[in-house]
Symmetry: C2
Subunit: 146 residues, 2 copies
């Protein structure tokens, strides 16, 4: 059982990394977002305006890396750097309207793609899978990673 799950996870990881997913999801969208910059965009969408240093932990990167990625997104008009009114040293990375739309659209596209393939599953199996996948995150071997 452990072996089967391990092999499946390995395959899943390999395929998702190789699927050129970002390229597919960003079709007909502004050019600023790719596999490198998306985690920053998504992180901001998840939690609202934050500093690069704050995001760094979540993205799994150094502060400098987040800053550089944010610069790209800024150049593409998806992120805005705004001085923190409470602390003028700090800089808050904020999604522009276009940035928020972009990440929403990408998520919608991915979800639709998954939904579509789940539609042909036996009734209830898809729901069971979704539940167990979440359980695997909460109780599985990586439960206290982040």
């Amino acid at each position: 059982m452990g072996h089967a799950v391990a092999e499946a996870l390995g395959d899943l990881l390999k395929r998702t990394l190789r699927a050129n997913l970002y390229q597919a999801l960003t079709e007909n969208i502004g050019e600023g977002v790719d596999e490198v910059t998306y985690p920053v965009l998504s992180g901001l969408a998840r939690t609202g305006p934050r500093s690069a240093a704050d995001l760094a932990g979540e993205v799994g990167l150094d502060r400098s890396g987040v800053s550089r990625r944010a610069s790209r997104l800024e150049a593409a008009g998806l992120v805005r750097r705004a001085p923190d009114p409470a602390d003028r040293r700090a800089v808050l990375l904020t999604l522009t309207d276009q940035g928020a739309e972009t990440v929403a659209l990408m998520r919608e596209r991915l979800a639709a793609r998954i939904e579509e393939s789940l539609n042909s599953w036996p009734e209830g199996e898809a729901r069971s899978f979704a539940r167990n996948l979440r359980r695997f995150l909460d109780e599985g071997p990586f439960k206290d990673v982040q």
Copy 2:
């Protein structure tokens, strides 16, 4: 449903990449294998001796990258370069005994770790999860990636 699975997959990807998994799995093992070299080692274990060019597609890398990674594994004594007897231009990458043992041990460790956390699941749920995970690979949105 699609959204829930998409988010879970994202989390799963993020955590597995961040879990320092290779570091944990290679504890008390020779130093030659890490997250960079493991895919080559594992690929060889899966299919037997192959050329670097052949492996490249599966690893998702250029021929040169595979060759360089193989050189590291060779220096660590886990892989051997053997001339192909049928074509003296070709070079076959082959696992040494130590290389085969290493990959087997790493797989065993990962499987055990997963198994352990699955033991506390409700009866049958783990089996259902394993089955559906495999189904997701075979019929899901990434079914024809590789």
